[in-house]
């Protein structure tokens, strides 16, 4: 049993009552007096030159309050990473995808705004639409962005160790190519925002469905030329984000611009179709990998070549193209690794970061290949993995420090939990079992912009009666449970019950927090919260020590009670003072009660005024001096192993996932139920990508399945029973030993399914998704090949 009172338990989430009762306020629920509605004019063609924009008819429509184009918005480039600021608020020269923003309208209601946007006349000279990587890289193809010839948005060439030398020492060499499809994260809540600019004070407030209030604040400040201090970004409750809401979207800037023009609040929302058109979810990846191993199964070398279909802009893509190489550095001991990655611009919506950023398809390709190698070696796939597995303290060839790594424990947990030994190779025809491993960062080691900034700050202050601790953090609760996690860390550190913490989060006025991306908040915000809470506690202990004339070291706080480690001093005078302060109150302590946190806090207030403290965190110096080392280095790495059991209907190609078991090393579970929730959610998302999901385009570059009927995420009926096993390796760099779970748990899902399909049907499939037709065709080809 743990010695903790609050953390490491199954705590009900602090936001559950509001959400269960429908009281939680999302952007769509919000409105303000005099609020206007904004609508965008988006390009109907995938690629073209803008010859003329005529807004006169739109301006004349009754109810229209402002029409803006690039002329009003200016041409300050922005994006996600300063290394690739390649977006403007509105197109001024070319349009680059169907949905590229050209103009916007603010009007008294949404109907009028949409009608006005449709009255804006744009003349185009159409250009060839480059819809595939091959189109975009072809000799003589038009260039989307002048600075990037051949439409190569980003190129990475890295070698750690010596791949060729490693290959020479190998006995088995295997090469495979693997292709995935563009994803949509299909979060429930489409992006939306309300901007409110006060013309008198020149203060701008943006309420937005974002994962990263801090980054949005910086971009708004930069593009709209406002001082950071005049820009406040507030995130209400969020219907998830999965990475897509981790950059600034066009509406966030446009609504502010429209509010600055009109002096009125302006609300904008994406429709579901616009969510697809804006994109920014997982890229399509094509990986070709060559792996060399010795006869005994020792991994010697990996060459990984990857092409990413990036879409029209970079978004997170510069990080993505690094991650799709760097995240294969672990969790296996791999002495030689070569990576060549190319992110290509195409005339489609930009791709960006999605759960498991950049690493998911690389992992799927490689973990399937490892199973093929195991088969050739006559080795159990689990044995091959265990043989090469890193342990705590190992450092990868690309300088990732595995400061904790419970990978072996994860593998053993799923092996035992699934009865692997009884099943592998022994299941009836049509049934299969497969496994895979994966790992992921616990927060990016560096902010997206180069800076010495703290990654997280937190403020805790106590109410003057001592009864409640107020926690202020700019971190983002997006549905993942971070508010509960932070409140639990504060409660545990202060030594008070969770119910005595009130958390406010997601507001740039509360401090600096880089936000919810790269699985960073538990570790980073968690540290800042711990820091703040520890300082608040210390102040109370110091006041108490002085009042009681004992040493602060002799006092502790637990479950809201003051603990005297040695003998109990006479605190009756303190209690008398406290009761005098609260004369007539009904909840005063009686003489025999132990001294409480509440009493001590009031006494501390009387001595010092409001008791508050600032907590802060930034990572220590991390490894890697090479170009691109910033992508993948992290204070800690989470890891997981999964086993999937499934049935293949060989006549139809339909796959039924029967069972999934996942073990994840999260270092230490602050809230166990949230950790399990993240594991289950990751598996569901991975299952969808493996089996169903693909954003499809017509020959003109228009998405043909921009809705949740035709873009198929798993339904409840597609999800099998999931067994989630928490492994705790105690991470030295994490608060209470905690590290990530939000993204890493998706890593093994796709390859575990692929490996189980092989076990069930004897076919290796190298393209996603595993639609019935693709599986059927693979089985047919396999049978024909066998027959001939």
């Amino acid at each position: 049993m743990s010695n903790y009172d609050v953390i490491n338990s199954n705590a009900p989430r602090v936001d559950t009552p509001a959400k269960a009762k429908g009281k939680a306020i999302f952007i769509d629920d919000m409105s303000m007096p005099d609020m206007l509605f904004g609508a965008l004019l988006q390009s109907p063609i995938a690629h073209g030159k803008i010859l003329n924009i005529d807004i006169s008819a739109a301006k004349k429509l009754k109810g229209v309050k402002a029409v803006v184009t690039a002329k009003e918005a200016g041409l300050i480039p922005y994006g996600v990473s300063p290394a690739r600021y390649d977006e403007n608020v509105f197109c001024h020269d070319n349009v680059r995808y169907i949905g590229d923003e050209i103009a916007a309208v603010a009007a008294v209601d949404l109907e009028t705004a949409i009608a006005a946007a449709s009255l804006i006349k744009v003349d185009y000279q159409e250009l060839p639409a480059l819809l595939t990587i091959d189109d975009a890289m072809a000799e003589g193809a038009p260039v989307l962005h002048k600075k990037y010839p051949r439409n190569i948005c980003a190129q990475v060439n890295q070698e750690f160790g010596n791949f060729e030398a490693g290959l020479k020492e190998s006995d088995i060499i295997k090469t495979t190519t693997f292709k995935s499809k563009r994803q949509d994260a299909a979060f429930l809540e489409p992006q939306g925002c309300i901007a409110n600019f006060d013309k008198l004070t020149e203060n701008l407030t943006l309420y937005s469905s974002t994962q990263v209030p801090h980054y949005v604040q910086r971009i708004l400040s930069m593009v709209l030329k406002l001082p950071i201090g005049k820009v406040r970004v507030i995130k209400p409750y969020l219907g998830a984000g999965f990475g897509i809401k981790a950059g600034t979207n066009t509406m966030e800037i446009v609504s502010c611009l429209l509010s600055m023009k009109t002096g009125k609040p302006v609300k904008m929302n994406y429709s579901r179709e616009q969510v697809f058109m804006f994109g920014r979810a997982r890229h399509q990846f094509v990986h070709t990998m060559t792996t060399g191993v010795k006869k005994d199964g020792t991994l010697m070398a990996l060459k990984n070549e990857c092409y990413l279909d990036g879409g029209a802009y970079t978004s997170f893509g510069i990080a993505t193209v690094y991650y799709s190489g760097s995240l294969l550095g672990g969790p296996y001991k791999l002495p030689n690794m070569k990576y060549d990655g190319y992110r290509i611009y195409t005339n489609k919506p930009a791709c960006g970061a999605q759960r498991g950023h950049g690493g998911v398809i690389a992992r799927a390709c490689w973990e399937q290949q490892l199973d093929m190698i195991a088969e050739e070696l006559g080795m159990d796939p689990i044995e091959l993995r265990l043989k090469n597995m890193m342990v705590t303290g190992d450092i990868t060839c690309n300088d990732f420090n595995m400061s904790s790594l419970g990978m072996k424990e994860c593998i053993e947990a799923v092996k035992d939990g699934s009865e692997w030994n009884k099943k592998k190779g022994k299941l009836p025809k049509g049934k299969g079992i497969g496994m895979a491993c994966g790992f992921f960062v616990s927060g990016a080691g560096y902010p997206i912009y180069r800076s010495d900034t703290y990654h997280s700050t937190a403020v805790i202050k106590l109410t003057e009666d001592g009864g409640t601790a107020l926690l202020y953090t700019a971190s983002s609760e997006i549905g993942q449970g971070s508010d509960t996690t932070m409140a639990m860390i504060a409660a545990e550190t202060l030594g008070i019950p969770l119910s005595d913490i009130r958390i406010e989060s997601g507001d740039t006025d509360f401090g600096v927090d880089l936000g919810a991306y790269s699985s960073r908040q538990t570790l980073m915000t968690g540290h800042a919260v711990y820091d703040a809470a520890a300082h608040v506690k210390q102040q109370i202990l110091e006041v108490l020590a002085e009042e009681l004339n004992i040493s602060a070291d002799e006092i502790d706080i637990k479950k809201g009670i003051i603990i005297f480690k040695k003998s109990q001093p006479d605190f009756s005078k303190l209690r008398e003072r406290y009761i005098k302060e609260h004369r007539g109150w009904t909840d005063n302590p009686s003489a025999d009660d132990p001294l409480t946190f509440k009493e001590a806090s009031r006494i501390a207030f009387l001595a010092k005024g409001i008791i508050s403290a600032n907590g802060k965190y930034k990572p220590h110096q991390l490894g890697g001096k090479f170009k691109g080392a910033a992508v993948g280095t992290s204070p800690a790495y989470g890891c997981s192993a999964q086993i999937v059991e499934l049935t293949v209907d060989e006549q139809t190609g339909q796959i039924t996932i029967d069972n999934m078991i996942d073990a994840h090393d999260c270092g230490f579970a602050i809230n166990r139920v949230s950790v399990e929730g993240q594991m289950e959610g990751s598996l569901s998302m991975g299952l969808g990508e493996a089996m169903f999901e693909e954003v499809k385009f017509d020959s003109k570059g228009k998405i043909i399945n921009a809705d949740l009927a035709e873009y198929k995420i798993p339904t409840a009926l597609d999800m099998p029973p999931v067994k989630a096993i928490i492994v705790e390796s105690s991470e030295p760099n994490g608060p209470f030993g905690a590290k990530e779970v939000g993204e890493g748990a998706i890593m093994p899902t796709i390859p575990a399914i692929l490996n189980a399909v092989y076990d069930a049907a004897g076919v290796r499939i190298f393209e996603l998704p595993l639609t019935p037709e693709r599986v059927y065709q693979a089985i047919l080809d396999y049978k024909n090949k066998k027959a001939s």
């Binding site: 949404l110 109907e111 949409i114 429709s271 579901r272 179709e273 006549q651 139809t652 339909q654 039924t656 089996m691 169903f692 499809k696 043909i704 399945n705 009927a709 035709e710 198929k712 798993p714 339904t715 409840a716 009926l717 597609d718 639609t771 019935p772 037709e773 059927y776 065709q777």
Partner: protein
């Protein structure tokens, strides 16, 4: 996506509804659950001047059961079909189709009349109804007529219903003797899916383990409307069910369907699946018939 503007009528009686339709004709659309219609209106594929809501009309929501027939009102919901014990017992393949449609939320709103009237070649309700030889009752101010569902569909989105008519009722004559039917739909995922292929098969036997005296095989998603596999049906009649016979029938059905390539699947795959599902639905039908 916003709905276009329209007038809304909500008649309380059948007579009132019929006279509104008589007045508006093509300019009006009937709405019951709206699960298909409203989505198409938001996409601006349809923008009728008026919507006529008929789900408050009690007689359209009836389920009437006698020894010989089952009559289902056109506004009877899909979830009510899925949960009806009588339907499950007498015409089980319809219940299977109902359970395959959409999600619980959609099924609570969607109606049998809407699923027929929208005339989607991939719809879940029509194949089994056609297999049971069901009929549709169409009414107008000037009278009523009954149309076999097999002759009801004219193309994607088009049916026998005239602009002034309302589909009020579906009639299924309960077959005599030893009969059974099977319905299978195949999609990408297990629910809320647009089918790639669906098949319903009906057989009746002259006695338990006897010869097949009638058969209907209905194939969805493989033509502009649901198709009958006539040649496959013909080789079944007069024969005793057997593995070999059903395989042969399935093979013929495959040759009778006319799918196209689309973004959901290739024509080649759809044809192959017609064969698999025909065989499997025949197996279900005969199993059920033998248990009667």
């Amino acid at each position: 996506m916003l709905l276009p503007k329209f007038n809304f009528y909500e008649p309380k009686t059948q007579g009132e509804a019929l006279s509104i339709m008589n007045e508006y004709g093509l300019k009006a659309k009937l709405i019951a659950g709206g699960t298909d219609l409203l989505a198409n209106m938001k996409r601006k594929l349809l923008s009728p001047d008026a919507l006529v809501g008929i789900s408050e009309i009690e007689e359209f929501k009836n389920l009437e059961i006698s020894d010989k027939t089952i009559k289902i009102g056109s506004c009877f919901t899909v979830s009510a079909i899925a949960e009806s014990a009588v339907i499950e017992k007498k015409i089980s393949a319809l219940a299977v189709g109902a359970r395959a449609l959409g999600t619980p939320l959609i099924r609570n709103l969607a109606t049998i009349g809407g699923n027929l009237g929208s005339a989607r070649p991939a719809a879940d309700i029509p194949p089994s109804l056609i297999a049971y030889n069901a009929k549709a009752v169409l009414k107008s101010v000037s009278g009523e007529r009954t149309v076999l569902l097999d002759k009801f569909f004219k193309g994607p989105g088009f049916t026998e219903i005239q602009p002034n008519e309302i589909l009020t009722e579906i009639i299924i004559d309960i077959p005599d003797g030893y009969y059974g039917a099977g319905y299978i739909n195949l999609g990408i995922r297990k629910a809320q899916d647009c089918n790639i292929v669906n098949v319903a098969s009906f057989v009746s036997l002259d006695e338990p383990n006897g010869v097949i005296n009638s058969a209907r095989i209905v194939m969805g998603c493989v033509g502009p409307t649901h198709l009958r596999a006539n040649a496959a049906e013909n080789i079944l009649i007069g024969n005793k069910p057997s593995e070999k016979l059903f395989q042969e029938a399935a093979k013929i059905a495959e040759s009778e369907c006319k799918p196209i390539d689309d973004f959901r699947a290739s024509a080649v795959y759809k044809k192959a699946m017609i064969r698999v599902l025909t065989k499997r639905t025949l197996d279900i039908a005969v199993k059920e018939a033998s248990l009667k």
